[in-house]
Amino acid sequence: MDVSLNKDEKNNLAPPTSKPRSGFISLRGHLLKRNITWFIMALPALLWLLIFKYLTLFGSWIAFTDYKVRRGIFGSEFVWLDNFKFLFATDSAIRATRNTILLNLLFIFAGTVFALFVAWLLFEVYTSQFTRFYQTFLLLPRFISWVVVSYFVFALLSNEKGLVNLTLKGLGLQEVSWYTSPDYWPIILLLVSLWAGVGISSLIYLSGMLAIDPQLYEAAQIDGANKFQQFTRITFPMILPLVIINLLLSMAYIMNADFGLFFQVTRNQPLLYPTTDVLDTFIYRSLTVTRDISMASAAQFYQSVVGFVLVIFFNWIVRRIEREDEPLSLF
């Protein structure tokens, strides 16, 4: 098996960095013009970001003030980090942060592996008539709101009428009181989130795989590489940039949990909090009485800062290991 063949192919495809430019001087002269065109192309989206993201950014200041609308955002009293205290004040608060990070890591890792697997399966039979049906079915969960999901999770797991317990009973096994047993829930929630997300997340990888030059596979087949080897030596390296960018971006949201999943699907059952209470549900619960805007803002700020630091850190790592001709980092 000639692995170097892949490398050669790739190098052929990779941009010949300086040669053409030295060959065509006129192209270099147009570089400024091209830069201007690129900037104009970027402009609509940049303007949108400026208005919708940067203009509203000053609102983060609310997190550090005792916000009163009649005094305005900058007229309100500055209270340092008071609004952040409730995020660290109790064991439950610390637990919420811990659960959020651990569950998200689990979801990100398992989600990526599963999405890659499903994308690969779809890729292998992509020309089949059935594939469009598979893809459509896999996407269906995306349309079902968490409330409705919570109904049929309950239909599966409820004590007396639940399908799972009926099955266990039928097999002569001990029934489980699911909604009072926190230990099972990381797995249950993982399964639900995989179920809900795989249709979407596999699409990104599938579109990456579809862009790979089929000749690479033909060459590999001639060399006698089996399907698994084709995956590890061609498919995976080729979509690695997509995987990395996806993982990097997931880090940004590591402190944010899907409220619907954790609130509705667990039915907000307190006995499950030890493993299912995440920041978003904890914040919601803490602020039901006061509905304090400053504290809500502080919580959001906390989530953002942690995500930001993590992304900067991992981006730095990626930059250290990426190849010059194949940038993988975000910036």
Partner: protein
């Protein structure tokens, strides 16, 4: 010798064919299982929506209605205007919003994917930074209602998803992988950046565009939070918001029982909620089946050759 080796070669090809068939067969089996996992809950919902309300509560969910009834749909279509209008709104914002969003996102992504673009790094950071930090809902609300003044208009539903940084970065990664020699060749032919973008980059990136387009369309189709904040006019309710409101009204009304007031309106039934879920999902699924063609067409163009 050569004869036996030929025979062996033939046999090897046979085995290959059998293996390849078995391989494909098991791939199909796996995908069928996954599909069923995704399909069954929806079938349960459809079945529930056609079940008599009281029978559903008593007997629970089943794949075949324990007592068939179209009452839920009768209830919803008692006033068909509301739901039809919601369909129109949802389809409109999905089509128009996705078109605009994919256009401006891919333009930005293209610019950011050009290694010779001097502002590439700072602008990448400018773009990426917004993914993490946002000012929260209050400044956003003030912006939308007091400066842009789009509350209770269709614009409020269109604007929020024009740029999703995540998608821009995915597209950028995709564009960056396109072979540079194509661009150089086009430039030699005298093509400007706009022409390169529209006649080389976009056609080659069809699978990626279709994917991002689909994501964006799903965002618009599934969005109810924007309406929750900015839409009061019931003529502008998108489908998913109508569904959300039916559900959350029931929850909000329970609050009154705490103060001894229990006679508010009719709480929508479980079956009606299921019927709404079916109505909100079904057409989108059909649309996706149709949309699939574009993804498949992408395959034939698949390689960067």
């Amino acid at each position: 010798m050569s004869h036996t080796s030929n025979l062996r070669e033939l046999r090897r090809q046979d085995t290959d064919r059998v293996m390849s068939f078995l391989g494909r067969f098991s791939v199909h089996i796996a995908l069928i299982i996954f599909s069923l996992c995704c399909l069954t809950p929806l079938l349960l919902i459809i079945s529930a929506s056609f079940t008599d309300e009281i029978a559903l509560t008593r007997n629970g969910y089943s794949l075949i209605p324990s007592q068939f009834s179209t009452e839920a749909y009768d209830l919803i279509f008692k006033n068909p205007r509301a739901i039809l209008q919601s369909y129109a709104i949802t389809i409109f914002i999905t089509v128009v919003g996705t078109t605009i969003a994919v256009t401006i996102m891919s333009l930005l992504a293209y610019a950011l994917s050009r290694k010779e673009f001097v502002l590439r790094k700072p602008l990448s950071f400018f773009v990426f930074f917004t993914m993490l930090f946002n000012g929260g809902i209050v400044p956003y609300y003030i912006l939308m209602t007091q400066y842009l003044r789009v509350q209770d208009t269709i614009f409020a539903l269109l604007l929020p998803y024009f740029v999703v940084v995540f998608y821009v970065l995915i597209l950028r990664t995709y564009f960056a992988a396109l072979p540079e020699e194509l661009f150089d060749a086009a430039r030699v032919d005298g093509a400007g950046e706009w022409r390169i973008f529209f006649s080389i980059v976009l056609p080659l990136a069809k699978p990626a565009l279709a994917t991002i387009g689909l994501f964006t369309a799903l965002n618009y189709w599934n969005d109810w939070t924007t309406s929750l904040y900015f839409i009061r006019d019931s003529n502008l309710y998108p489908l998913q918001y109508l569904l959300y409101i039916i559900q959350s009204n029931a929850q909000a009304m329970q609050l009154q029982s705490a103060v001894g007031n229990i006679t508010v309106g009719e709480v929508p039934t479980q079956t009606a909620r299921m019927a709404m879920a079916v109505l909100a999902t079904g057409p989108a699924a059909l649309f996706f089946l149709f949309f699939q063609r574009y993804l498949i067409r992408g395959v034939t163009l698949g390689s960067f050759k």
